[in-house]
């Protein structure tokens, strides 16, 4: 009998045991476990890997603890811009979206692009127009905002001002203030 299962990630970066409080760590572990359970429940019932991936990611997008969906980091202009992609290993079909500002679950839109359009990638306002056509849930930009992410941006802007407002040179890491990448 073939094995089945899933794996997830919630981001990588400069995490420290000194800065990650026990309470925060417990919250993160709980959401990661919930994400695994959401995907596993689908696989256990004979569902597809595509459905499992979508369900697992949706849990993480809906949590303010991770840099995706609610809880996304801010751009220089103080906006949240979301990207996502999905790929079906059986058919090599793929869907991707970038620069979203109102789509609650970008991974759902990536799947619609893959399955209900002849394209692979859509960006910005066009992608959001397609989301509206597809009847996906849209939210006001404030939905994605968390105070923690806003403060991270303010610290990054302050550091930038202190450095003379210089954008990163080519090839130099534009390392975010909290050292955690997206």
């Amino acid at each position: 009998q073939r094995k089945w299962g899933l794996a997830i990630h919630g981001g990588a970066g400069v995490m420290s045991r000194d800065t990650l409080t026990p309470e925060r760590e417990a919250e993160v572990r709980a959401r990661l476990t919930e994400s695994l359970q959401a995907g596993h429940a689908i696989l256990a019932q004979g569902g597809t890997s595509l459905d499992a991936v979508g369900a697992a990611i949706r849990v993480l997008e809906d949590s303010p603890l991770f840099n995706a969906g609610k809880g996304a980091v801010f751009t220089h202009e103080g906006r949240n811009e979301l990207d996502a992609s999905l790929m079906d290993g059986r058919t090599l079909a793929a869907g991707a979206v970038a620069g979203l500002r109102h789509v609650k679950n970008p991974i759902a839109l990536a799947r619609r692009v893959m399955e209900r359009s002849p394209h692979v990638m859509m960006v910005g306002e066009g992608a959001e127009a397609f989301a509206r056509e597809q009847g996906l849930e849209l939210v006001p930009p404030e939905y994605f905002r968390t105070e923690e992410r806003w403060e991270q941006l303010q610290r990054a802007l302050e550091k930038e001002r202190a450095a003379g407002g210089q954008a990163s040179a080519p090839g130099v890491s534009p390392r975010p203030e909290d050292g955690k990448f997206g």
């Binding site: 794996a7 990650l20 572990r29 476990t33 992609s85 290993g89 991707a96």
Partner: protein, 134 residues
């Protein structure tokens, strides 16, 4: 950034990634997450989702490179993922990690950063969740 890879009971793989990008980014910068082959890739042999410094994942087509090594070089998934994340990316200066799954249900979750939120659940339904390199 968050991501997932899965293998269903029919033996089909899938991969997905979702992100808010990078703090303080400008100019409509887009990282690797929505770039097929860079931050996300799946075929019949392997599925990968990445998280890290996106420019490096794009330049090195990280997700596709791992699956190509599995497909063409016939190397084990763990070796392919380790080579790309701990050797190719490190030499280039790119920080981050991936989750990867092959058609036999083997899981690899290498990273070259101090930590990566990650987890796995197989048929037994027992969750494995970790943050640091323990």
């Amino acid at each position: 950034t968050v991501g997932a890879v899965a293998l269903d009971q029919s033996g089909h793989l899938a991969a997905g990634t979702s992100t808010g990008g990078m703090t303080n980014k400008r100019y409509g910068r887009v990282g690797d997450s929505p770039i097929i082959g860079a931050g996300t890739y799946a075929n019949a042999h392997c599925a990968v989702s990445g998280t890290g410094h996106g420019e490096f994942f794009i330049r090195h087509t990280v997700a596709r490179d791992i699956c190509a090594r599995v497909e063409y070089l016939k190397v084990p998934l763990q070796e392919a993922a380790d080579t790309v994340v701990r050797d190719v990316l490190v030499k280039a200066g790119g920080e981050g990690g991936v989750i990867a799954l092959d058609a036999q249900g083997t899981v690899a979750m290498p990273f070259n950063s101090p930590g990566m939120y990650r987890g796995y659940m197989g048929e037994d339904g027992q969750p494995f969740v970790a943050i640091f390199p323990e």
